[in-house]
């Protein structure tokens, strides 16, 4: 098998004095959709933030396309081709939809054009001139995802894109994720809702107390339900 696009090894991270990640190891291959499952506080979001360079202190190894990024600054990690869509979405309130879409710098070729993005998210096109604050939760989430498609980043990390959204919007986000996967993007997804994760992902990692404790192929999901219920307490 080819080298993974992203290989995280023995990743440790701290917030101030608290030791959050105790040696996380995951691999994501090109074109895959991989999820991190786990309860609140298991370290899923911290893993994404640590990969993105947003956690103050981290150690271990984060290799992206063979390049070691564990010591790199966040803006360099972004320029290497990794993009994060954070849980709080981070839409810039005083910029309108188009301005929000055009803001992130293009880091390499291969991103979608504005027209392609609007074709993928027709409801954003209708709101093109609306300021960020005027959007509904679902629209903000769409915009947060759409915004990182233009930059040419290869690996998209989505942090709980379905959280707090109506079921019909969740379905729409699922369709979007499958569509961007088809366009060749690689996706690392954090989810609490494994029923949703099941509909989009190829593989799953389960996290507990800052470590990866299990890995499940989506095809084996049915057989692993018992284990998952135990891990996730659902």
């Amino acid at each position: 098998m080819a080298d993974p696009l992203l290989k995280v090894d023995g990743l440790q991270a701290w917030y101030g004095e608290s030791h959050i990640l105790h040696g996380v190891g995951i691999e994501v291959h090109e074109g895959e959709v991989v999820t991190l499952l786990g309860r609140n506080g298991a370290g899923k979001t911290t893993t994404l933030r640590a990969i993105m360079g947003l956690v103050g202190r981290r150690s271990g190894s984060i290799r992206f396309e063979g390049q070691e990024l564990v010591a790199a600054r966040s803006d360099r990690i972004a320029r290497a081709g990794i993009a994060l869509c954070p849980e709080e979405r981070g839409i810039f309130a005083s910029l309108d939809v188009t301005e929000n879409l055009l803001l992130p710098p293009v880091v390499r070729p291969g991103g979608l054009s504005l027209d392609e993005i609007y074709a993928l998210f027709p409801n954003l096109k209708e709101r093109a001139r609306s300021p960020g604050t005027r959007l509904s939760g679902g629209e903000q989430q769409m915009l947060a995802i759409a915004r990182i498609l233009r930059t040419g980043a290869k690996l998209l990390m989505l942090d709980e894109p379905t959280e707090g959204l109506a079921p019909v919007i969740v379905q729409q986000i699922g369709r979007t994720i499958r569509e961007i996967k088809q366009r060749g993007f690689t996706i690392l997804l954090v989810e609490q809702n494994f029923r949703f994760a099941q509909t989009v992902a190829d593989r799953h990692y389960v996290m507990e107390h800052g470590r990866v404790v299990d890995a499940v192929n989506n095809a084996e999901m049915a057989g692993a339900m018992g284990r998952l219920h135990e891990y996730l307490g659902v």
């Binding site: 600054r73 803006d75 954070p86 810039f92 910029l95 710098p105 930059t151």
Partner: protein, 332 residues
């Protein structure tokens, strides 16, 4: 407070600007306000004392430059007097000792603002909030003492009887009216430049940094570079404003480089409206008019200013332009 201003501008109606003015980045309300401003600039000197108007325009440009930093990047500098005052000294020195023409002398003031801005900015942008403000204040105090001690500034006396000279060496500016048009042109150029900056892609990155700096970084921006550029631009324009003021009054003194001047520009911007295009101009107009027309009350002007400041912060946090914009449901 910057956040406060943002929240409402974002909810204001987005309307296309008037043709021609839209190219400058103005929306409809701003286009009308701009035409009004142009009208006032044209009629002003025939109604009011030109020297008073020139002083007002210098401070308006200073406040606009300051607003570029606080209103659009969210950085509160408490040391802008160093650029304003030093710009004044260098322009005065250039005009009086080197015999440069006024436009070159003003540019020299801007250049020294830029150089100081790069150095001060490079040191200060490493910290945020109160620490940023304190570093800029400390640097400004250092510059104050340099101005107090350096031989070329004339110490307590300042640089006096600075010649206005002749524009491009041809048009004499000895008459207040002729100098007024030059000052108005300098103000207008600075004002439009700032407006162009905040509506450019560069300005949008600045806005993004103000609203969510970690997000801007993780999208791939080296925000320190952007902050430094904004800081330098702001310092340059402050230097130009200070230089222009020195030519208007023919004097450069310690008052303009003293920390109270840094406070005054904060006051002007706050009273006018943080993060609004026209706010700093209105704020400067209010504060300068008060100083001028209430001068007979002597030290009480400061007390009155203090009361206005407190009232503004308590009741109209969006400032004059911000509050007006809220009532008219437009973005000024």
């Amino acid at each position: 407070m910057a956040g406060q201003a943002t929240a409402f501008t974002a909810t204001a109606q987005q309307s296309p600007g008037l043709p021609g003015l839209a190219a400058l980045g103005f929306n409809r309300a701003q286009s009308i306000a701009f035409l009004l401003l142009l009208g006032l600039l044209l009629v002003g000197p025939f109604v009011l004392y030109p020297v008073f108007l020139m002083k007002l325009l210098c401070f308006a440009l200073f406040a606009c430059a300051f607003n570029l930093l606080i209103g659009y990047v969210g950085l509160l500098s408490f040391g802008h007097a160093m650029f304003f005052g030093m710009g004044g000294y260098v322009t005065a020195h250039a005009a009086k000792v080197w015999g440069l023409t006024p436009e070159l002398a003003i540019l020299a003031g801007g250049a020294v603002g830029a150089v100081l801005g790069v150095v001060a900015g490079w040191i200060a942008i490493r910290r945020q909030g109160i620490y940023f403000a304190m570093i800029t204040l400390a640097l400004a105090q250092m510059i104050f003492f340099v101005c107090l001690q350096a031989p070329f500034t004339g110490g307590e006396d300042g640089i006096q009887s600075v010649p206005r000279g002749a524009l491009l060496g041809v048009f004499s500016l000895a008459q207040d009216m002729s100098l007024y048009w030059v000052v108005a042109a300098v103000f207008l150029a600075g004002f439009l430049l700032i407006n162009r900056i905040i509506h450019s892609p560069f300005g949008q990155v600045l806005t993004a940094i103000r609203e969510n700096e970690p997000r801007a970084i993780s999208l791939g921006y080296r925000v320190d570079d952007y902050k430094l550029m904004a800081f330098t631009l702001s310092a340059t324009l402050a230097g130009i404003a200070g230089g222009t003021k020195a030519l208007v009054f023919g004097i450069a003194t310690l008052t303009d480089v003293y920390w109270a001047m840094s406070g005054e520009v904060v006051l002007m911007t706050l009273v006018g409206g943080l993060g609004t295009v026209f706010g700093p101009v209105l704020g400067a107009a209010v504060i300068v008019s008060m100083q001028n027309y209430l001068a007979e009350f002597g030290a009480w002007v400061t007390v009155i200013q203090g009361c206005i400041f407190v009232a503004c912060v308590l009741a109209f946090r969006a400032g004059i332009a911000g509050q007006l914009g809220r009532w008219l449901r437009v973005r000024l």
